[in-house]
Amino acid sequence: MTNLLEVKNLRTYFETDDGVVKAVDGISFDLKRGQTLGIVGESGSGKSVTNLSIIRLIPEPPGKIVSGEVVFNGNDLLLQSNEAIRKIRGRRIAMIFQDPMTSLNPFMKISKQLMEMTQLHLGHTKTQARAHAIRMLETVGIPDAHARADSYPHEFSGGMRQRVMIAMALSCEPELLIADEPTTALDVTIQAQILELIKKLKRETGTSVILITHDLGVVAGMTDHVIVMYAGKIFEQAPTNELFAKPGNPYTKGLLRSVPDPTAEQGKLYQIPGLPPDVAHLKPGCPFAPRCDRVEEICKQEFPPFVQLNADHHSLCHFAREVYSESGGTPA
């Protein structure tokens, strides 16, 4: 399988009154065609900034992509002109955000907003675009799409609006779909509907997906690979089954143990002590050291290495091999 997307050594910094915030600080990963990659992290870990950097939507100033490459289909997006990027955004890379209400124009009919996409990117005539828009609304399960296409966003519920966003995102058959917390604002039965829909559409169209979320349950059910971010760094990356079964990083391990599993016995939850770090004032050494239960002197002094544990399993930790072995893995 070939790589659709290769992110290399990406750094995105923000100038603030409080100093330079290194929101994303030297991350690299690949996404193969047809695969789903999950990016997990807590607030401030840099997961959303990574996504915004890929599609060049970082507000500049105060933000700036300081270095790196985002190679999409062989072309570095960071070197493209703004005009060229606009042709890719929405057409070949599409996005869904957490809150569909702020991503839809409240004064414009749903049909019109969908039609704009294909009129602009695919050169559809008005008639073609309208037919396509209604077909897309049917695909995402809007009942009575013909009649409801001319509604305004406020007439739809949260789940329906998220369906409209998905219809819009997929209307030009993009090669990559970036979904940033697509179900966080939704109720659990509606979340199940939307996740099933994304899975189904992915099977049918072969679109690659980057799914950004804080919910480890969603990651477990939806993704092939996972990246765990903390303080702007990738702390661990691995195939999903491997990461859940044999985590090689104390942060991942702690995170997995702190989420209650309703199918298991309910013992006392493990808790990671302390708070996520302030990325504007990181100390030397490992950013997780103050919260880590196996911290040693070296962790406070030196930044940890990115250790390869297996063919496609990496962990940012001085003791990655030991943690991995304790989880039952055999370091290569």
Binding site: A192, E196, P262, T263, Q271
Partner: protein, 344 residues
Amino acid sequence: MSALISIKDLKVHFDLGGGGPLDRLFNPKSVKRVVKAVDGVSLDIEERETLGLVGESGCGKSTLGRAILRLTEPTDGHVFYRDRDLAHLSQKQLREQRRHLQIIFQDPYASLNPRMTIGQIVGEPLETFRLARGREAEQRVQELLETVGLSKRFIKRYPHEFSGGQRQRIGIARALAVDPDFIVADEPISALDVSIQAQIMNLMERLRRERNLTYLFVSHDLRAIRHVSDRVAVMYLGKLVEIAGAKAIYDNPLMPYTKALMSAVPVPNPRVEATRRRLVLEGDVPSPINPPSGCRFHTRCPWAIAECRLTEPQLQEIQPHHWAACIRISPEQPYIEQASSGSQ
């Protein structure tokens, strides 16, 4: 065990207007619109238990929690606490009782006065109820901060200097200041990061053991509910539809809505997720204004029959300590999958 709080046929209706003589003058079709947020709920909360109350947005779970403390006035019904009916006390009598009944809110940003120091916030209930003053009050506040895992050095700081998890700890300290029996925790972890959620759940669990507290834990997060609760009550459009032990309600849900709810929970285990079959519901939760007739869930229920549109199901004990409201199941026939006649 005995019930600490006993709720009898509690109703909270919000009148949205319409249907009056003046309304009909301008619009002959105008009808009275009422949101029945809580519509006849009876529930016992046992001493020292954590009762989890779950449901989706708009089901009335927060309104029920607030109505118990009369932060929202009930329209009808009773809330018995130690032989007093809270729903019918005068404001003065109610204020005395509030000492024993506290609440923790979802949004730790909105529920703390930004112009008060942490010491003032946690100490205010002590003054209000004349429990302590001066040096003694200060000492109590310091102890409370330490109890919830905050340094007593924070006493002169302001809420904006704290993270979400720390603010939730401050909210808990304030609730504990009056040494209550009963705490309504309204989505106490929903606004927090994953690693902080575990901290707050463990803290609440420890405090319950140490101080013999009783909790009503209101949340839409079914994994958290499963973890913290002894028993769980499920709400749908203003009604309770199922009550059972936390393990039973997750492993063996009986009422169809509960089944769908439990099967929708994402499990943090890829192997379980890969083999799971989900019961995915069609459509959205109907509006609580003029909700569906009969069983309110019939519009989305895959097992609904014509009868469900007409008959309002009552909670009945289908299995020992396991109550569900569905006309298609009974103690003799507890599993709806086997009640096939008339279903699709």
